[in-house]
């Protein structure tokens, strides 16, 4: 993986020599292992060293993107030539192009994204870990009758970004995850759920005993589920369900969606979109963070952006192109793969915690829903209309009672943000997008 910067320079030089005004190169190379164990047996053992290069060339305001997994010099030279040819078909666009030189750079903060112990971890050890994880889960409760398997994934990767305006960045990462998916069965009805832990460091993953216990708890708590009645009640979002609402906001607060009028947050900059206690942050500099990085995919330094403060929308997250289109500053939020153009996207994106314990929030509900999971279809990003399949536990008189499934919850995201009543103090950074527990005063439940 040593030669990637030289490879990037080679491609840029080739592009320049053919007359490019500007160009940039993204190279991603990794070493990955996946182990899946089911019922004590290794079901899948997968190893690979994937690599890919993406090239963008700008010439007289024309541009094109090409990519390949073939790093042989002759193939790359052909690719550069091809890029020029297809670029000429594009319409000249005054807004396209690399970022201004003055904006380029790398954060000097130590982000702690690489774990050398992970790189040397033998495969046998990974197999032993997942085997033990599944074994513990299967034995914890007699209601657990089957397993979908326990899975280990790890990856060590390097991202190199270089452009003709002098930016050259390289960052090494590791990541690993453990997950366990179980089945429980009672009275002929099967239920399944899972739990996982992921991070940049092996030692900071949750203990396998804790992952197994949580997977079992989540699976057996679904037993005896009912379909709830159709009604309108308060809904408590647990941190997993809350993450779904933040995912919707992440897709809607980006400059691309705003410019394209494809977001319910159009014309909301500087306006109150949520209750006063609502604060949203995007921070690419959290040490050990799953979406942390020293520079974005166009070479702008990492940073912390306050997206929403005291309910007021402060920023649209922008890459270079949509910042220019909207007349706003780029916020260091360019994301891309080798196969795609940069576009704005979130990094570590989270809602600030509030003052209530989750128990206090639950006990405040007389008759309502504790929401534990939502299905992914059912959001209209243009209008914010929200209608999603859901699962949870019914709350009566402040107490969790029976599990509920096979129903939907519906509202509009803008209405929901204005109806947040209590925000929990239980924010943790277990994913790239994170929320604490929170309560929304009223949503429509469609059940029986």
């Amino acid at each position: 993986m040593e030669k990637l910067k030289e490879l990037a320079e080679f491609v840029l030089k080739e592009a320049k020599s053919l007359g490019a005004d500007d160009a940039d190169v993204l190279i991603i190379q990794s070493v990955t292992t996946r182990v899946k164990v089911r019922l004590g047996k290794v079901e899948e053992l997968k190893q690979a060293n994937p690599k890919a290069l993406g090239l963008r060339i700008f010439k007289n305001k024309h541009k094109a993107l090409t990519y390949t997994s073939d790093f042989r010099p002759d193939s790359l030279k052909k690719l550069v030539k091809k890029t020029f040819e297809i670029a000429l078909v594009s319409t000249p666009d005054d807004f396209s192009g690399l970022p201004d030189e003055s904006l380029l750079g790398t954060s000097s903060q130590n982000l702690d994204l690489y774990d050398p112990t992970l790189v040397t971890l033998p495969t046998e050890k990974k197999i032993a870990l997942v085997t033990e994880l599944e074994n513990i889960g299967l034995k914890l409760d007699p209601l657990i009758t089957n397993s979908e398997g326990a899975t280990w994934n790890d990856s060590q990767y390097r991202i190199v970004i270089a452009n003709t305006r002098g930016f050259s960045g390289s960052q090494d990462y590791t990541s690993c995850s453990l997950s366990l998916a179980l089945l429980a069965e009672k009275d002929g009805v099967k239920q399944s759920d899972y739990w996982y832990s992921s991070g940049r460091h092996l030692q900071r993953l949750e203990r396998i005993e804790d992952i197994a216990r949580e997977a079992v708890r989540r699976t057996i708590r679904k037993i005896g589920s009912r379909k709830p009645k159709t009604t309108t009640v308060p809904v408590v979002f647990d941190p997993i369900a809350g993450r779904d609402l933040l995912n919707i906001l992440a897709s809607s607060v980006v400059g691309s969606a705003i410019y394209r009028k494809s977001s319910f947050l159009v014309d909301k900059l500087g306006k109150s979109i949520a209750v006063n206690d609502f604060n949203l942050i995007d921070d690419s500099l959290i040490p050990g963070g799953l979406a942390s990085r020293s520079f974005d995919y166009e070479g702008l330094p990492g940073r912390k952006n306050i997206v929403c403060e005291n309910g007021v929308l402060q920023k649209y997250l922008c890459d270079t192109y949509f910042a220019r289109k909207l007349g706003l500053p780029a916020t260091g939020n360019a994301i891309r793969s080798t196969h795609t153009e940069p576009q704005p996207g979130t990094t570590n994106f989270y809602m600030l915690p509030g003052e209530y314990t989750p128990e206090e929030i639950i006990s405040s509900v007389e008759d309502g829903l504790y929401l534990t999971d939502v299905h992914w279809v059912g959001i209209n990003y243009v209008t914010g209309d929200y209608s999603r399949g859901a699962e949870g536990i019914w709350i009566e008189n402040g107490q969790m009672t029976y599990p509920v499934q096979e129903f939907t919850i519906a509202s509009n995201v803008l209405t929901m943000l204005k109806s947040i009543e209590m925000i929990g103090n239980d924010l943790t950074f277990r994913d790239a997008i994170n929320a604490p527990t929170f309560k929304i005063s009223s949503m429509t439940i469609s059940g029986t």
Binding site: L45, K46, I86, Q191, S256, V377, E406, T444
Partner: protein, 508 residues
Amino acid sequence: MKRREFLKNAAIISAGITTIPRLTKMLLSRPTTNLSVADPVSIFGISEREARELLNLALSHGADFADLYCEYHISSLLRMEEDQLKDVSYGIVMGVGMRAVKGDQIGYAYTEELDLAQMKKAAMAAATIANQRPGSSSSPKPVKIKNLYPVKQASIELPLDQKLKLIERANVAAHQSDTKIVRVTVALYEDFRQILYYDSMGKYFTDQQLLTALRVYVVAEEGSNRQGAGTARSARHDLTFYDKPQNQPEEIAREAARIAVTNLNAKPAPSGPQIVILGPAESGVLIHEAVGHGLEADYARKKLSNYSDRIGQKVAAEGCTIIDSGLFPHQRGTINVDDEGNLPTETVLIENGILRGYLHDQISARAMQTTPTGNGRRQSYAHPPQARMTNTYLKGGKYPPEEIIASVKYGVYAKQFSGGQVDITKGDFTFGVTEAYLIEDGHLTAPLKDVTLIGNGPDVMTKILMVGNDMRLSNGTWTCGKNGQSVPVGVGNPTVKISAITVGGTRT
């Protein structure tokens, strides 16, 4: 970390443009470099002897089966927004996947270095799944393939101006269809895969898989009220696919515009159980989610599916026959041969309400002592095959669609869908409806806002009251996700009346 399988209608792309369309002046008959679309054998330069050597290495630790999957994949995208051809991209990705199988255990490794030493390394890595005495491979014999997607010439390397004309036609039509249309995005996607395959039992094939998709996304605006809608057509075909009346760029554009403008007046949908009529073709998403995934034999044989151990039982209403067939010429879910060298088949999953069979890949067929159904599919060389659907549909029945609609006093008519999801274990599925109407006294009336429908597969399938005589396969861009792998699929349905399904509206 979401484990559920999903089906996505990728027509939903992001939008662009306000002003009067003007033709792109650039371009026109600029020749493209011909990056020689060579045959798979010469691309990978693997001789029969080398293939056997690699397979023997994969068997060297005692695996009982091994295969070698080489893929050379070209893809291209042209995207117009604001009347400008903004994105032009082109890529070549290639690699070799080595698999060693011991019983139902899989060792898998792949490399993107096309030299024999790296391929041998991958074969050795895959081999370690087993721990016994080495086996050896049989001499290769070609699989006899019938070409289900014949074309004169694959269009991926055609001059870009021909493709641009299609895009411009869609762009103009979308703008002209209604003054309320304020944003139009049009994208043409093309894929061309060359596959070379050998396995240790002597199977050998090459295939060229093409796929094209044209998508239009529009935003309609009236005051501060906005709605977006996307439509698409896709097939394993060349550009002549877009000559057919129903696939013409203008037709695709007008449909997107019509839905967006209609939805400007959409009313909140009712909530709770309702009589639901599903329109033809696109609503095959229901069959895919409620039935299809649960009948993929990998889940079924591990007793993870709510349809496990239920062959011969009644699992759907009488009159319901559900089929998966990889044989429809040029369909998006069609394959000449699956990714393990097995020929596609027509598999009757449910016959007149009775569960008849599962969809098999090589491993599940062996474990359940039956023959593969040609459903072993993979996203790419980087992925081991799994049991997957091809084109899945409910067979047409006897009722004219008008008669079905006329039979409902109050209910919901669902026409276009964004996608769906299923919990295979319990059978609960959801699907998102993007175009729906209220049915009142046998007539379609008010358009309804986007709404999600939720039900339990085995339960809803017994509530099918009427099956229409208008079965059609969708020409949309349906893409199915399972365990992190995406593959193109086809769905189909006639008009169907369901006695009760929960509608996730806001009106109580």
